[in-house]
Amino acid sequence: MRVTSIWTEYLKLAEPNSLAMQDNNTEKVISLNGVTYRYRGGESLHFADLEIPVGRHTLILGDSGSGKTTLLHILSGLLKPDTGNVTIDGQLLYDLAPRQLDEFRGRRIGLIFQEAHLVKSLTVKENLQIAQGFAGAKVDNSRIHEVLTLLNLDHKANSYPNKLSRGQMQRAAIARAVVNRPAILVADEPTASLDDRNTASVLELLLNQAETSGATLIIATHDKRVKTRIAHAYELGGHLS
């Protein structure tokens, strides 16, 4: 298989020295080694090895079709790579049995999408309850209350998604992603369809919640506005073969 994709790491805001120290002294929350993925049509991607320390919020940049979403899905345990290892929070992801992987994902990985994708038949609170339940945790209503309060959604706890504004839905989706205090918070194009003001607001929320929950934030985006807020970024280059 021909290598067609590489990582380009660049540092925008942080000083190189401090980053190096952080890298040396901090436990890795994400690690990719020799990961390749072949699409059904035969095209394949080879991802450069990657290590992200705990707490280093990181952007994954790239044009449409460069494989950002594929990489996020591989990192989230949703898409098994053809070769290579993925380690999240010290756990070799694809060594887990399918059910263990599902539970691990539920507990340690929070996912946020461009659309909120709340379960329509459930209230905001119930959306958070199933997030706890599917992750194998006991439903903790005080934690749900805490998260919803932080996101100023407590008064909408018993509302169904169709009764929420777009902003409220996005906040509810963030609440659902952080309710289990994940190790990594993965967001796929969270600002793609937002104006500048809402983009800033969503980024603020994501960063705050990642900090509050102790999660490392990984955002895949081609939105240049996001680059101003996140120090580290990896650009996904190359082309599909």
Binding site: H73, L78, L79, D102, H117, K120, S121, E126, I130, A131
Partner: protein, 470 residues
């Protein structure tokens, strides 16, 4: 939230299609429930109610009709038979007990049955209150009659012509309620029992009248002018003498001068059941006259040898008809079975439609729910849990439908049993059968099958593809 709660929430989200599935399941289960209860209870009743009766002897005609009219009190009799001929049969050594029945009138749909105390012995009935009739136009009423019409000891009831309500009322001869039967027997509970003479007198004594004018329900003319000949000898004003309780009732011998041979002495009705065998024969002997008629004779054999011989004796050597309740009940049930089978097919077709409706509803809903399912996977739900959620939806829909259907079935049966005439009711809507649990199980099974394919589709939801919008 567990899977059932999530499934229930999804069902509520799609109310219109869910209600259709529930209703179709309910109708199918409802029909099956009615059929189950009806066939089970009919079979049981046909069996139980004819227990102890080995043979019914009546006028020539349909044997099923004879059984229905004399044992189940559901149909019109085949006609009348000569009391003299009946007496000859009663005297046969193969006969242990012979209970005469004389039908023709009703009280609000409840049949008034002219008989003697051997009727109580045959069915193992006991008085819950009051006493047995001691004279003409005194009656013992069944518990269900009392319940429905609030009758009490001493009340007067007016019989009407025919075997179902609506006939000409016998205003001139009210019956006085002297006793109430304890709840014991589904048929007897709905009857009003009196002595034979009362029925004869009500319709004019057959010893002196033309039998064709008293066809007891077949072509009985409601405007008949009753022949009062023979009644005169019984004029002892029951209405006046029986409007008080048992304790202050004058002794029958003083208050009811024995009307020669027209009916037995009231004293005989007070004999213990153990002597009723002799009693029956003596009653028949007392009645005596060969001109009198009764409707039928319920016979209990003295020994099993009579099973093969006695019916043949009756059918070949007399102008009467002998019908075996066991044989005719089985024949009747097999005839009913054809109708039940047809309705069962209809019910299964409706259940199949319910299954299709649920399948289509769940399958179509998957298109709208594909993101929901994919998101659940990202939240940690396993493939098995998604399968379980969709299966639970199918099962919940049919479970609710099946339970609802069973309730509908019982309500329908109640309506059916309430709309039928009082003493023709053999169905009890309040009875719960263990087999009804099977109906729910069948419903749940149908729900599982209907949801299986959508559930497999949910199980195979490609999360990455779905979330990528590919």
């Amino acid at each position: 939230m567990n899977l059932l709660q999530i499934a229930w929430k999804n069902i509520r989200q799609n109310q219109a299609t869910s209600i259709l599935g529930v209703l179709l399941t309910a109708f199918g289960t409802g029909i099956l429930c009615v059929l189950l209860l009806t066939s089970h209870q009919l079979e049981e009743q046909l069996d139980n109610n004819s227990r102890g009766i080995d043979l019914v002897v009546g006028a020539k005609g349909s044997p099923i009709q004879l059984i229905l009219s004399s044992v189940y009190h559901m149909d019109n009799p085949t006609g009348n038979i000569s009391l003299a001929e009946a007496n000859k049969l009663t005297a046969n050594p193969m006969v242990k007990l012979a209970v005469p029945l004389s039908l023709g009138d009703n009280y609000r749909g409840h049949r008034i049955v002219g008989t003697d105390s051997s009727f109580l012995q045959l069915y193992g009935l006991e008085l819950a209150e009051g006493r047995l009739w001691q004279g003409d136009f005194e009656a013992v009423v069944g518990a269900e009659v009392v319940r429905r019409h609030g009758l009490r000891i001493g009340d007067k009831i007016y019989g009407a012509h025919g075997l179902s309500s609506g006939g000409h009322t016998h205003d001139e001869h009210p019956y006085t309620v002297t006793g109430i039967l304890g709840t014991k027997h589904p048929i007897a509970d709905r009857l009003i029992l009196t002595n034979l003479a009362s029925v004869w007198r009500m319709h004019g004594d057959h010893a002196d009248t033309d039998a064709e004018a008293h066809d007891h329900g077949h072509h009985h003319d409601a405007d008949d002018q009753h022949d009062v000949v023979g009644v005169e000898e019984h004029e002892h004003h029951h209405g006046e003498t029986h409007e008080h309780t048992t304790t202050d009732h004058p002794t029958p011998t003083t208050d009811h001068p024995t009307p020669t041979t027209d009916h037995r002495s009231p004293n005989t009705d007070h004999r213990s059941p153990t002597t009723d065998h002799q009693l029956v024969k003596s009653i028949m002997g007392d009645i005596g006259s060969g001109e009198r008629e009764i409707t039928s004779l319920l016979i209990q054999y003295r020994n099993p040898a009579a099973i093969g011989m006695f019916p043949r004796l009756v059918n070949q050597n007399t102008a009467l008809q002998a019908a075996s309740p066991a044989i005719e009940s089985a024949r009747l049930f097999s005839l009913l079975g054809i109708g039940i089978d047809s309705l069962q097919v209809l019910a299964y077709v409706i259940m199949l439609m319910a299954a299709l409706s649920i399948f289509i509803s769940l399958y179509n809903a998957l298109k709208n729910r594909k993101y929901d399912l994919a998101i659940m996977r990202t939240l940690g739900a396993s493939q098995g849990k998604l399968f379980g959620i969709v299966i639970a939806e199918g099962i919940l829909l049919t479970f609710v439908g099946a339970v609802f259907g069973i309730i509908i079935g019982h309500i329908a049966l109640y309506a059916i049993s309430s709309s039928t005439t009082g003493n023709a009711t053999l169905l009890n809507a309040m009875t719960l059968l263990p087999q009804e649990a099977w109906l729910v199980a069948i419903g749940v099974g149908i729900g599982f099958v209907a949801a299986a394919l959508p559930a497999i589709k949910a199980y195979r939801t490609p999360i990455s593809q779905t979330l990528s919008g590919n």
